[in-house]
């Protein structure tokens, strides 16, 4: 039936019921004009209307039925066939279901089908089963068994079909085939990859153990049984904070904090992986917990287990290899999660270091780049003044980047760093003594030593300057701007005073210093420095194409920082062209694409921006792999785009992935991690998850305050988001303070006309609106809109929301036609956006309806009443 038919049916029905009963039949005959089906339908409706009741059901009353329907005894269900699948035999039975081997009759393929018998016994179990299906559907990874199909039997027993893995348990596989340690570790590495993937999807397995890790004939592992897996987001659910029932988990593999307190995190899986690794290497469990009570167990697992090296002699490894493996295992098995590898990522990294027989790995391009550069440019002096020096430089950079990159517990681990220390000492001291240095080799210590070394290079000003610049860039990246500044300025002084003249080096110094100024929020100075550098490069003959491209890109970057988006776009388009010509898939090109995406975003060209970003992400994943900060940067950018579009679920997903990568790489107390957390928090604010957003913002603020002065514009973003949380809480005074600060910070940094100043104004206006100070609110909204109209495209969402809010402020002052005109202006923009943010559209509709009603135009008001279903959960 078409809805037009439905409308006809309804309208005839309403007309008929208003007629006296005797006239109805005649009316229907006439109105239906021979359409007997319609007539019959209407007659039946009228009859039913006359009876005045639907079925007996309604008379019985809902609670009565509810009472009857619940609490019947459960029954066992045995099924032979489901759709195309025929059941063969039971593979296993556990707390969370029965698994059958089944055959697909049309293709003869074997599959595993899991049922949840007595599903109605507990809605919580049913929910958990449904969650497992959801989890599996979300996971697509070669080392995770796949979901094929799911459904419910007629008696509502839920089931799902998944890949049947014909293989051996990991530990059996390892034991029976006497593999070498490297083979075992390579296999274990794949398992870790699968777990890391699951974590990137925010899923914690919680029940990793050999029987859930099967190895297929081809030697590839498959993770099974996500029956008690948990999504990270749901962890605050109190019902999940219970200890694992012994029915469900295997105490030998469960992390102590979970067994004891019910605390769960990525570290829960790290622990289980540690047990699996330990068992794979030694053939024994670290703790024999089967025979103990939980209380005894609680004490036992606080102790360190025996070192694997004492048990696994059969693998025939060297002493030093074993000492690494001991650290790897025991660090995964720490009772305190904070002392464990904080992520599978961190575990994987150390595993890789071990497998590559290196203390630490560097970013290959940085290492090659820097060492190569120094060698290439100063071949003669290097050879003359000693190869060792160049090596020292290379290695400082090597370790510095590595340590900076992985400034997590993994690398702070004393036993682990011993090897590095020894290595470093030998380089710094020029001998091979066994003794390690007494001083802790932190990144900054290394850098400071590098600087001291560099300072002693009297008479080699070119090398000295390059060292300063290199070390300065590292300080810059670490957020140590003062040190970076000193070094860049020294480099510039050296290069300017050099003879013969070295204008290319001088240009590099200027660009580096300019980028630093930009990081420091001094955008005007930044632009002037980079322009000086660029112009030197462009005047130099023959032209240095690489340098020109990179300097152009840097100029685009500072232009963006100072809010000159059209100019930046032009410059960056040029840079993209230059860099593409040099190498179509270089790091530099990817960075420039991202910059261009920034500029396009600010110009409101979201589609173009997303396209550029996606291209950069693809490029970066190829260059760096999945978990590099540059990939995180691409992800957070995509997240911000989705946020702007109102796709909050996607935005949250991107942001969480980015934050996880950044935290694993730099540690939590890093300005990048803080900024990205704040961006995630803003999405949460948009989703109405204020409770989750606030602690993120406060901690991000704490971190950023360590790196920036209280008057730095970097803080404004956090204050702005925090203000929105406070508005929601009704803490209006605090919100006002924050928004005032936002306005002043952005004014100082970017000038009165910057659109961000408008954001602060509009938000401050909203606080006035909430506190019923309508004239102040109106004034601020008007100021913000005027400002935006000058710098943003006419259909920008901020303008739209500003208009709707302005309409509200005017409505409250009873100037209805004027109010409606503003609301309408905002609404028209919102409606045109491809995916308008639902809450603002609904607010606008509501206001329009109210406005027209107030103007006594109910027919117009009706247009905006309803229409947008406000509750529509799935299913």
């Amino acid at each position: 039936m078409e809805s037009t038919h439905w409308e006809q049916l309804q309208s005839l029905f309403h007309r008929a019921v208003e007629l006296p009963e005797i006239e109805r039949e005649r009316f229907l005959k006439c109105a239906c004009d021979g359409e007997s089906a319609l007539e019959a339908e209407l007659l039946a409706m009228l009859q039913s209307d006359g009876r005045g009741t639907i079925p007996s059901l309604l008379e019985q009353g809902l609670p009565g039925i509810a009472g009857q329907f619940v609490g019947l005894p459960e029954e066992a269900v045995l099924v032979r066939e489901i759709g195309p699948y025929r059941l063969l035999r039971v593979l296993g039975e556990g707390g969370m279901g029965v698994v059958w081997l089944a055959k697909r009759q049309d293709t003869d393929a074997l599959v595993a089908i899991k049922f949840l018998p007595n599903a109605n016994l507990s809605p919580a179990r049913r929910e958990r089963f449904a969650r497992e299906i959801k989890t599996l559907a979300k996971l697509r990874h070669p080392y995770i068994a796949r979901l094929y199909d799911a459904g419910t039997l007629a008696d509502s027993t839920p089931w799902f079909v998944m890949e049947y893995v014909e293989g051996e348990r990991l530990t059996d596989y390892v034991r029976e085939r006497s593999h070498t340690a490297d083979e075992i570790l390579q296999l274990f590495r794949k398992v870790c990859e699968a777990v890391r993937y699951a974590h990137s999807q925010e899923i914690i397995h919680r029940d990793l153990k050999p029987s859930n890790i099967m190895v297929e004939k081809d030697g590839a592992p498959r993770l099974l049984d996500f029956g008690i897996a948990r999504e990270l987001q749901g962890l605050d659910d109190p019902s999940e904070r219970t200890r694992p029932g012994l029915r469900f988990v295997s105490p030998d593999y469960a992390a102590p904090e979970w067994v004891r307190e019910g605390t769960v995190g990525f570290f829960t899986d790290v622990y289980s992986l540690g047990v699996v690794l330990y068992e794979s290497l030694t053939g024994k469990l670290p703790f024999d917990r089967a025979k103990r009570t939980i209380e005894e167990d609680g004490r036992q697992i606080d102790l360190n287990p025996q070192k694997p090296s004492a048990l696994g002699a059969r693998l025939g490894l060297s002493k030093s290899a074993w000492s690494d493996l001991d650290v790897l295992c025991l660090k995964s098995l720490r009772a305190d999660p904070q002392e464990r590898y904080l992520s599978v990522e961190a575990l994987l990294r150390d595993l890789d270091h071990y497998l590559q027989n290196e203390p630490l790995e560097a970013q290959p391009d940085s290492l090659r780049y820097r060492i190569g550069k120094v060698f290439a440019r100063h071949r003669r002096p290097v050879l003359a003044t000693g190869l060792a020096l160049a090596l020292v430089v290379g290695l400082i950079v090597f370790f510095t980047l590595r340590l900076a990159a992985a400034r997590d517990v993994a690398l702070a681990e004393a036993a682990r760093t011993q090897r590095i220390q020894k290595f470093m000492t030998s380089l710094f001291q020029g001998d091979d003594s066994e003794a390690g240095p007494s001083e802790d080799l932190r990144v900054v210590t290394l850098l400071d030593r590098g600087v001291q070394k560099a300072q002693r290079l009297q008479g080699e000003s070119a090398i000295q300057a390059e060292l300063y610049r290199t070390l300065g860039s590292i300080y810059d990246q670490l957020g140590k701007y003062d040190q970076a500044e000193t070094l860049f300025e020294s480099a510039l002084k050296l290069d300017r005073g050099s003879s013969p003249q070295n204008d290319m080096a001088e240009a590099d110094d200027l660009v580096a210093l300019g980028l630093l100024r930009s990081d420091q929020g001094k955008s005007q100075e930044a632009e002037s420095l980079v322009r000086q550098g660029t112009s030197i490069v462009e005047q130099h003959r023959p032209i240095d194409a690489m340098r020109q491209a990179n300097a152009t890109s840097a100029l685009g970057r500072v232009l963006i920082e100072s809010g000159q988006y059209p100019a930046a776009t032009e410059v960056l388009d040029h840079a993209v062209a230059l860099q593409t010509k040099l190498d179509p898939s270089s790091v530099e090109l990817s960075d420039t694409l991202t910059l261009l995406a920034n500029a396009q975003l600010y110009l409101g060209n979201y589609d173009e921006s997303e396209r550029l970003n996606q291209r950069a992400l693809d490029m970066d994943r190829k260059i760096y792999g999945e978990s590099h900060p540059n990939v995180a940067a691409d992800l957070i950018n995509l997240g911000q785009l989705e946020d702007q579009w109102g796709h909050y679920v996607e935005a949250e997903h991107y942001d969480r992935e980015a934050v996880a990568i950044t935290k694993a790489w730099y540690g939590t107390d890093h300005p990048d991690a803080a900024r990205q957390s704040a961006i995630l928090a803003q999405v949460l604010v948009h989703e109405g998850k204020y409770d989750e957003a606030e602690p993120l913002l406060r901690s991000a603020f704490g971190t950023e305050r360590k790196f920036f002065s209280p008057t730095d514009a970097h803080l404004a973003y956090i204050l702005n988001a925090l203000g929105s949380v406070e508005v929601n809480r009704g803490e209006f005074a605090a919100a006002m303070d924050n928004f005032r600060q936002v306005i002043s910070l952005y004014r100082t940094a970017y000038g009165d006309g910057d659109y961000r100043v408008g954001i602060g104004m509009s938000n401050l206006g909203n606080v006035y609106l909430q506190t019923k100070q309508y004239t102040e609110a109106e004034h601020l909204f008007r100021q913000a809109i005027d400002l935006w109209k000058k710098v943003l495209p006419a259909d920008n969402i901020n303008i739209a929301i500003g208009q709707v809010r302005l309409g509200r402020a005017i409505f409250a002052q009873h100037r209805y036609p004027e109010a409606v005109s503003h609301t309408l202006a905002g609404y028209e923009i919102l409606e045109k956006q491809s995916t308008p943010s639902a809450s603002s559209i609904q607010a606008a509709r509501k206001d329009l309806a109210a406005g027209y009603l107030a103007m006594k135009q109910p027919e117009k008001a009706r247009i905006y009443e309803g229409g947008v279903a406000s509750v529509d959960p799935k299913k």
Partner: protein
């Protein structure tokens, strides 16, 4: 030349979102809410059954108790009582229909491709309402294909016990529109479920 650094978007400040609306961009929150309500309703319904105090507890009271227990949970933070009831209505419908379906499937045991072995057939007496309830559910589904709003309205009114005013608020239409739609939908559903005279359920 210093190493090129990845340029992240400087964070994009946004305006404070509109509030006071459960649908504020969060389907996730609604899903969470739905499962909470579902479980709570089952608990309450089974209490009703155990006490056999059908007469003393109305569906409105049932929902009200659920609301009191759940309103402090995070997904409900920005949900009004009327919206809560509307969501609960859907959960209630599902609870009841699930049960009815389960029991009539057992009644038909052995039919089709599935073999059931019941341990306690005797306990599986089918309530007289089963048939009607399933028919009603199917008809509401059909109604939804013609007019999703009217289907939603029936769900709210019947399964959630929402008043006309509450239903009007939730669906964002006027009360008179609800009254009109309710009468037509009721008549139509009645004609679907009992096409001829009011007949006894076959069991």
């Amino acid at each position: 030349m210093p190493e090129a650094r990845k340029a992240e978007f400087p964070p994009i400040d946004t305006v404070t979102p509109f509030d006071g609306n459960a649908s504020a961009g969060s389907k996730q929150a609604l899903d969470d809410l739905f499962s909470l309500v579902y479980e709570e309703l089952r608990r309450l319904a089974s209490m009703v059954r155990r006490n056999e105090a059908n007469a003393t507890i109305s569906s409105t009271a049932l929902l009200h108790e659920a609301w009191i227990r759940l309103r402090d949970s995070p997904p409900l933070a920005s949900t009004s009582l009327a919206h809560f009831k509307a969501i609960a209505a859907r959960a209630m419908r599902q609870v009841l229909v699930d049960e009815a379906r389960r029991r009539s499937a057992r009644k038909r045991g052995g039919a089709g491709e599935v073999v059931f072995v019941g341990f306690d057939e005797a306990a599986a007496e089918i309530a007289t309402g089963d048939h009607d309830l399933l028919a009603l559910d199917a008809s509401i589904h059909e109604l939804a294909t013609h007019s999703p709003r009217q289907a939603r309205m029936v769900e709210c009114r019947f399964f959630g016990g929402l008043s006309v005013t509450e239903t009007a608020t939730v669906l964002g239409v006027s009360e008179s529109a609800i009254e009109r739609d309710w009468r037509a939908a009721k008549a139509w559903l009645g004609s679907k479920i009992h096409p001829e005279k009011h007949q006894q359920t076959p069991d």
